[in-house]
Structure formats: structure tokens, C-alpha cells
């Protein structure tokens, strides 16, 4: 394995001279370092003694059980990703809810969802129907029966698990004037994420954003059909409050959710990119708002603080 040290065996006086000089040097590691090293070794030795032996039958069973659990979880995850967008024939339900969609977390009446089916909007958000989900498919009529809040949360559930929601919106919603019904659907699927998507933590629910925005900007709602609409860009904090916000009046005919849900909008608020987590777009509706015949709407673009597991957008 090794070649002999270079030079010259017994005549290597240089190394010998160095070693003699080194031995005379009294420097040594500090006592606390020595103690820490030996303490760490004791800890490692204890851990080694506590570890199960490789021929321990219980250990083997635990390993098999662990593998089985991992496999089961993998199957469940794979199942959830099997859903793919499909063109939907006119007159049929465009959206099949995901069974684990949250229910009943949004105050009733917050968002009108009992509007014409998504096909009328050009939305092609389709989820492959699984037999198990058939009984839970929210046909338009059923949505109406459930009430607006519930239907919205069905859609929110889809947005939460659909990894490419913004792409779907961009592909299917041409820029143009948005009607009340269109934006209602739009808001449901436009929540995008620049980061890993998965289960949305309760404290980051869309309903939280709606509640705080509605409370603070109640006077910014404008009737549908107006030439302009107000857009509130809010950056939330981890406590579910608004950290910073910006209000813009934009043309009602040029709302493109996909173009809005970009990190640059939040960089303009003075944020660094690595502070920007999941981004969402929403539309709040005030049905027949005070003094208005038509519904009043407010567009909301929001972002949450980036979590460590999320990539920088």
C-alpha cells in the first residue's frame, strides 16, 4: 500500500531533528478539549451498545414493517399524482374534487361559486375521475346545493394539490375583461406556488387571506363591469396578518392571473426573492355590494413567507 517515506532511512536526520524539537515543545491540546473528545467517545460507545444487533429478529421485523409503510406511502403519493388534465366536453362537470379537500372553512357568501360551469369559462381544469371519487364529484348543481363557501373550498383543495395551476390558467384564460363568474373560478384555481406544493397548512389557508384583506380593504371593492378594478398585493406573515401591501387600480380588461402571480410583484414591495414563498391569486366578491346593483369585486395577489423547504423563486 505504501511506499517508504521519502529519503533515506536512517540518514533522515531532518525528520529526526524535527521530532526531537517537537517533543521539547510543551504545547498540547487544552484539557477541556481532551475531556470533550473522550466524553463524545463515551456517548458514541453507548450508542453503539444500545444499537440492535444485526441478527436481532425484532430488528428485522421492524425493518420489514418500515419498508412496507414506506411502500404504502409511496403508492398513496403516486395515486395522487396520477390525476392529469383532460379536455372536458361541454355540459359536463369540469372539475372533480379531490376527496381530501377541506370543507367548510370559508365563511359563507365570501365567494360566489354557483355560477355557470367552468367549461363556459374556457377553463380546462380536469382531473381524471377515479371510481372512488365518483360519488363525491361536485357537479354544478351539487356545488349550488353546498353553498358558495363549500364549493370554493373544493376548488381550493384542487388548487392545493394541482402542481401546475398557473399554467392551466395561463393556457385557458385569455386576457380580457373578466366577469364575476370568470374570476370566481379563476381565483379558485389560480393559487400558484413558486415552491413545492403539498398540503397547505391551515394557518396559510386562502380563507385567512380573504378574511384579513376583506377586513382592511372593504372600501376598495368595485362593481363588476367597471372599467377598472382594484388589485391588492399583500405579503402575509406567519401569523396570518398582512405584513405589507400595495393597492393598484388596473384595467378590468387586462387581468391575466398567470402574469400577476410572479415573484417580481413582491420584489417591488421591497422583498428579497428568498423571502417569497407560495404565491396565490384570488378574487373577492361582495354580492350586490352596498349601493351597487352589480356584485363588487376586489382582486388579491398574495404571497406567504418562504419556508425552508421551498426553493427560491
Amino acid at each position: 500500500m505504501s511506499t517508504p517515506p521519502m529519503d533515506e532511512g536512517p540518514s533522515d536526520e531532518l525528520v529526526e531533528a524535527y521530532r526531537r524539537a517537537s517533543i521539547d515543545d510543551p504545547s498540547q491540546p487544552s484539557r477541556h478539549v481532551r475531556e470533550a473528545i473522550l466524553a463524545q467517545a463515551q456517548q458514541s460507545a453507548r450508542a453503539a451498545n444500545a444499537a440492535p444487533a444485526a441478527n436481532d429478529a425484532q430488528w428485522a421485523w421492524r425493518a420489514v414493517a418500515g419498508i412496507a409503510v414506506v411502500g404504502l406511502v409511496g403508492l398513496l403519493v403516486a395515486q395522487s399524482f396520477r390525476s392529469v388534465p383532460q379536455p372536458v366536453a361541454p355540459g359536463t362537470a369540469a372539475i372533480a374534487p379531490v376527496t381530501q379537500a377541506p370543507v367548510g372553512t370559508v365563511p359563507g357568501g365570501e365567494l360566489r361559486s354557483a355560477e355557470p360551469s367552468s367549461t363556459a369559462l374556457g377553463l380546462k381544469v380536469g382531473v381524471k375521475r377515479e371510481p372512488v371519487a365518483q360519488g363525491l364529484v361536485a357537479e354544478p348543481e351539487q356545488n349550488r346545493a353546498m353553498g358558495p363557501g363549500i364549493a370554493d373550498d373544493y376548488l381550493s383543495g384542487i388548487a392545493a394539490v394541482e402542481p401546475r395551476a398557473p399554467d392551466l390558467v395561463a393556457a385557458s384564460v385569455p386576457a380580457g375583461r373578466i366577469s364575476g363568474s370568470e374570476t370566481g373560478r379563476l381565483s379558485a384555481v389560480a393559487e400558484s406556488s413558486s415552491a413545492l406544493r403539498g398540503v397547505v397548512p391551515p394557518e396559510r389557508a386562502r380563507s385567512t387571506v380573504r378574511r384579513v384583506v376583506r377586513a382592511r380593504y372593504a372600501d376598495l371593492f368595485k362593481p363588476t363591469g367597471s372599467d377598472t378594478v382594484n388589485l391588492v398585493t399583500v405579503y402575509m406573515n406567519d401569523h396570518g396578518d398582512i405584513d405589507r401591501a400595495r393597492v393598484q387600480e388596473i384595467s378590468g380588461s387586462a387581468v391575466d392571473a398567470a402574469a400577476l402571480t410572479v415573484p417580481d410583484r413582491f420584489v417591488a414591495l421591497g422583498l428579497k426573492r428568498d423571502e417569497i414563498g407560495s404565491i396565490g391569486f384570488d378574487r373577492l366578491v361582495e354580492p350586490h355590494g352596498a349601493g351597487h346593483q352589480a356584485d363588487a369585486i376586489l382582486l388579491v395577489l398574495y404571497a406567504w413567507p418562504r419556508r425552508p423547504i421551498e426553493p427560491v423563486p
Binding site: 500500500m1 505504501s2 517515506p5 531532518l14 524535527y18 504545547s27 463524545q40 467517545a41 458514541s44
Partner: protein, 193 residues
């Protein structure tokens, strides 16, 4: 696997015993190599505090890696490789922090201290003490990579091939560095003594 691993008193055998939970094996191993590793680190970084930190890091790594340890190489090669990598990391960090306009002197405080001790009492100014100071001063004055190579040989008793492995350079590069280091040391010592 090395044949020496079969011996329970070899470094590798002690590591295997430690991996099995025998803390006394580690204590034996540590006492056997403590000062060699310490001197290698201390003469490389020239600072007691930094050397303490690195020493702790290296031996923590040894104890934590014990269960994965495979005696495919000599224990000394492995532990000096660990030490070398940590020293290099520290130099890199220091280089980033170092102001560019500050001239650096790698000569460690231990050289001045030894010289001061040797000169403190005329009666202690023996020839061997002066030689020792001169040797250590000459080692301290070597360029970093040459000094590192020389110390790996002198403290770790590593062969050129092992030095090349530990420092991540080719055999020829390691050999060349070692030759330069030794020639420079000889030259300095001849001038001073």
C-alpha cells in the same frame, strides 16, 4: 482489509473495538495519536484556540464515524486526512475574511515562544535547544503546502503515496512538495547552525 486489523491492539483493531462499543479502545487510540495529530494541527494553523477547535472536530469525526469505519487504509492515514481537510477548510475561511492589504505571516507564535524560552536563561541556551528552535522556525517558514506535506510525513509518518491521497494531489505533486520542503529546511538549517 489490512492484516493488521486482525490484531486487537493495532489502530484498526482498536477502532473496530470502539465501533462495537468499547470506549477504552478509543481512549487507547486517542492517547496513542493525540500529540501527533495535535502537533500537525497546531503547526499548521499556528493558533492554540483554532488548533483546539480543529482537534475536537477531528476526533469527534473519528468517534462519530466509528460505526462506518472500514479499515481499508491505515488509521493514521485516515485521521490525518480528516485533520488535513479541516485545516484546509479553515485556511479557506480565513482567506475569505482576511483583508487583502494585510501582509500575512504564517510563522506561528510557538516559534517566537520557543525562541523566547530558549533565550530566557543563558544556562538553557544549549545547542540542542537552539537547534530545536531553528528547526521549528524553519518548518514554520515553509510555504503552506510544503509545510503540510512535511508535517504529514514527520508527524503522521505517512508515505508519499499516503500524503498524496490525504491531500488530494498526484503522487508526483506530493513527492515534489516534499522534496522542496526538505531542501528548504536543509538549506535554512545549514545557514542558521
Amino acid at each position: 482489509m489490512l492484516r493488521m486489523a486482525e490484531s486487537v491492539d493495532s489502530d484498526e483493531g482498536l477502532m473496530l473495538r470502539f465501533a462495537a462499543g468499547d470506549v477504552r479502545a478509543f481512549e487507547t487510540l486517542y492517547r496513542r495519536h493525540e500529540m501527533k495529530v495535535w502537533r500537525y494541527i497546531y503547526r499548521s494553523v499556528s493558533d492554540q484556540g483554532a488548533a483546539d477547535d480543529l482537534m475536537q472536530d477531528v476526533w469527534f469525526a473519528v468517534s462519530q464515524a466509528a460505526r462506518r469505519y472500514q479499515p481499508s487504509a491505515r488509521f493514521t492515514t485516515w485521521v490525518f486526512t480528516l485533520a488535513h481537510h479541516r485545516i484546509v477548510d479553515r485556511h479557506r475561511r480565513a482567506r475569505v475574511l482576511q483583508s487583502l492589504d494585510v501582509a500575512t505571516d504564517d510563522r506561528g507564535p510557538w516559534v517566537e515562544r520557543l525562541a523566547a524560552e530558549a533565550n530566557a536563561n543563558p544556562q538553557t541556551q544549549t545547542e540542542s535547544a537552539q537547534t530545536g528552535v531553528a528547526v521549528l522556525a524553519a518548518v514554520s517558514a515553509l510555504p503552506r503546502e510544503q509545510r503540510d506535506t512535511f508535517l504529514l510525513q514527520a508527524e503522521g509518518d505517512l508515505s508519499v503515496e499516503e500524503i498524496a491521497t490525504a491531500t488530494g494531489v498526484s503522487f508526483e505533486t506530493a513527492k515534489s512538495r516534499l522534496r522542496y520542503a526538505r531542501n528548504r529546511l536543509k538549506q535554512v538549517l545549514q545557514e542558521q547552525l
